[in-house]
């Protein structure tokens, strides 16, 4: 197994305290930058050179995103928002980082704020992470006491305030403009772009939104160098250490760190990772990047590097690196129905194709699952999907909602047909709602 960087301190005694963080060399990157005469531009260049791409889902180059903040902001302040709204089904890596090593996240936020000349930063954390918010609050207080936050940090003249802001239950607030709206005290309904947040973001000011893991990576880019980061991973476009969230029918679900581009088979079966399928069952399907990513079949996970381009080549995506594993006993119709329930529940209701389309997909899938579907329903699922996405809506939520539908119908059509014809699952066992699938 490759060396742990992001998770190096997880499991260490008292890992949350600033005392142990400093003992382990914490805030060295901040000293390097603020006391070592780095300009914000130099830090941004390093991050660009590292090849760091956003770990929240979209995979946009972080350094490049930072350069979109206008040079002259016409007196407007610049904001950094740490996206800790981790809500993509199957994803639980940021929770671990915040709960176990909050200072790594905070140091990353301070560095990134310096790079974009931000004076006020917020951590937007999902409401359910009550523990994480409390831990971050305590860690922020420690950081203020040590002079890493507040006025004139380390005597550099740079000042930053950091505030934890709790969400209140809404998946869409993980979309960056939904997050911005929510932070402003509104419903989290995404904005039309352009203008992009880097130009007009929160409170009408230039704003950068970065994921928790992305920000944590910045610490290590400073400490170990952009070249180290760029060389870690499969290639320069898929670089750095990466956290993978494994859940579903494997022996050992959990968060695993590896160099970007780990093979799917290694993650599922490796002794250091998932340790194989529970009960020795076969793999039927794998969702590689959270509920929004297209499912892959067992054949497709052969030679499948888990990175941005590796999964794009398979017409799916790395997303938030949430790998959800389904064994041979899983009814794909039922899984698709469950995934569609999520999207129907979470649509923000702003755009008609999404507001209407997501509940329809769920209803049609539920009736096929319940044994009252018609053969034309299978085509109907595809027709509804194709009318929802590809630019029909303000944000990409609808594109996410149709990915599990189109991929499951496309790749497991026989199971859908069987469900309609026989009014029951093609697989015998494993259905968690047997009363629904008897004819």
């Amino acid at each position: 197994m490759s060396e742990k960087v992001l998770l190096a301190r997880v499991g260490r005694r008292d890992s949350r305290s600033i005392a142990t963080y400093l003992e382990d060399g914490g805030y060295a990157a901040l000293r390097t930058v603020l006391s070592g005469g780095w300009t914000p531009e130099k830090l941004t260049d390093e991050v660009k050179k590292s090849g760091l791409r956003g770990r929240g889902g979209a995979g946009f180059p972080t350094g490049l995103k930072w350069t979109f903040v206008p040079k002259d902001t016409k007196g407007k302040p610049v904001y950094l928002l740490c996206n800790a709204d981790e809500s993509e089904p199957g994803t639980f890596k940021d929770r671990l980082l915040m709960e176990e090593d909050p200072h790594q996240v905070i140091e990353g936020i301070i560095l990134s704020s310096y790079a974009i000349k931000c004076r006020n930063a917020y951590i937007y954390i999902r409401g359910e992470f009550y523990l994480g918010a409390r831990i971050l609050d305590a860690a922020i207080e420690e950081a203020y006491a040590k002079g890493f936050l507040g006025e004139n940090i380390l005597g550099s003249g740079y000042s930053l305030d950091l505030t934890v802001h709790r969400g209140a239950g809404a998946y869409i607030c993980g979309e960056e403009t939904g997050l911005i709206e929510s932070l402003e005290g509104k419903r989290g309904q995404p904005r039309i772009k352009p203008p992009f947040p880097a130009v007009v973001g929160v409170f009408g000011c230039p704003t950068i939104v970065n994921n928790v893991e992305t920000l944590a990576c910045v610490v290590h880019i400073v400490n170990r160098g952009a070249e180290w980061f760029a060389k870690t991973g499969r290639n320069e476009k898929n670089s750095g250490p990466k956290l993978y969230c494994v859940s579903g029918h494997v022996n050992r679900p959990g968060v695993y760190e590896a160099a970007m581009g780990l093979q799917m088979k290694d993650l599922l079966f490796g002794a250091d990772y998932g340790q194989g399928m529970k009960g020795g069952k076969k793999v039927k399907a794998v969702i590689p990047g959270g509920a929004s990513a297209a499912m892959l079949t067992a054949d497709e996970i052969e030679d499948c590097p888990l990175d941005f381009d590796g999964l794009a080549a398979k017409k799916s995506m790395l997303g938030s690196a949430a790998i959800i594993v389904m064994n041979e006993d899983t009814c794909i119709v039922e899984a698709a129905q469950n995934l569609s329930k999520f999207f129907a529940h979470e649509s923000c209701g702003q755009c008609t194709p999404c507001r209407e389309g997501t509940p329809w997909l769920h209803k049609v899938l539920a009736r096929i699952e319940a044994g009252s579907g018609r053969m034309e329903d299978i085509d109907l699922l595809e027709r509804i999907s194709n009318q929802m996405a590809n630019g029909m809506t303000i944000c990409v939520f609808a594109d996410a909602a149709i990915a599990p539908v189109l991929s499951s119908v496309g790749k497991f059509r026989d199971e859908f047909r069987y469900h309609v014809e026989q009014k029951r699952c093609l697989v015998g066992a494993g259905a968690s709602r047997p009363e629904l699938v008897t004819a």
């Binding site: 981790e86 809500s87 993509e88 089904p89 199957g90 994803t91 639980f92 940021d94 929770r95 006020n120 999902r126 409401g127 359910e128 992470f129 009550y130 523990l131 305030d161 505030t163 802001h165 709790r166 969400g167 209140a168 239950g169 809404a170 998946y171 929510s182 932070l183 402003e184 005290g185 509104k186 419903r187 989290g188 409170f203 969230c245 494994v246 859940s247 579903g248 029918h249 679900p253 959990g254 968060v255 969702i287 509920a291 949430a322 959800i324 389904m326 899983t330 899984a335 469950n338 995934l339 329930k341 999520f342 529940h345 979470e346 923000c348 968690s432 709602r433």
Partner: protein, 172 residues
């Protein structure tokens, strides 16, 4: 989502924040450039103070933050974690999203509602429990995951659920 999420109920009593809650609100306001930005955190203070957010509490929040009551209602009903009516002492939240579903979350939730004799979004007559179904709570590696109020309980199974309900039922 239940239709009931769109209405904010009256409590029949004025909602006034006690001094310590007022102090928290002042501190929150100092962290934002606009009063409106304090809305979500102040609604959290309201929920922690009153247990749920009544029409009266929402109106009081609107007054403090200089917002229209309609804006506050719109926000309040958008987010699922604000309680729009009183809930039991223990809010049992069962995740049934994909990873928890693959681990049998629905069966667990059904076992709970059957044992307590209530449906989803209902409260037991003794006021001890309310059961709700929630979407992914980022406990997928410890599926099935659930929360009681602010605390995670994971991974769950039937035995652990029974023990948890026994313990919470016995608590005064």
């Amino acid at each position: 989502m239940s239709d009931r999420r769109y209405s904010v109920e009256e409590s029949g009593r004025p909602a006034e924040f006690p001094p310590e809650a007022r102090a928290r609100i002042e501190k929150i306001l100092s962290r934002y450039p606009t009063k409106q930005a304090a809305l979500l955190p102040v609604l959290w203070v309201a929920q922690e103070t009153f247990g749920w957010i009544s029409k009266e509490a929402a109106e009081e929040v609107a007054r403090i933050l200089e917002l229209t009551p309609a804006h506050v209602d719109g926000v309040l009903t958008f987010y699922t974690m604000y309680n729009l009516r009183p809930v039991g002492k223990n809010l049992l939240q069962f995740c049934t999203s994909i990873s928890c579903h693959l681990a049998g979350a629905e069966r667990l939730m059904e076992r709970c509602t059957k044992r307590l004799g209530v449906g989803l979004e209902q409260t037991t007559p003794d006021g001890k429990f309310t059961v709700v179904e929630v979407e992914c709570i980022a406990g997928c590696d410890r599926a099935p995951s659930m929360m009681v109020n602010d605390t995670y309980h994971e991974p769950m199974d039937e035995k652990k659920l029974d023990a948890l309900l026994d313990k919470l039922s016995a608590d005064a």
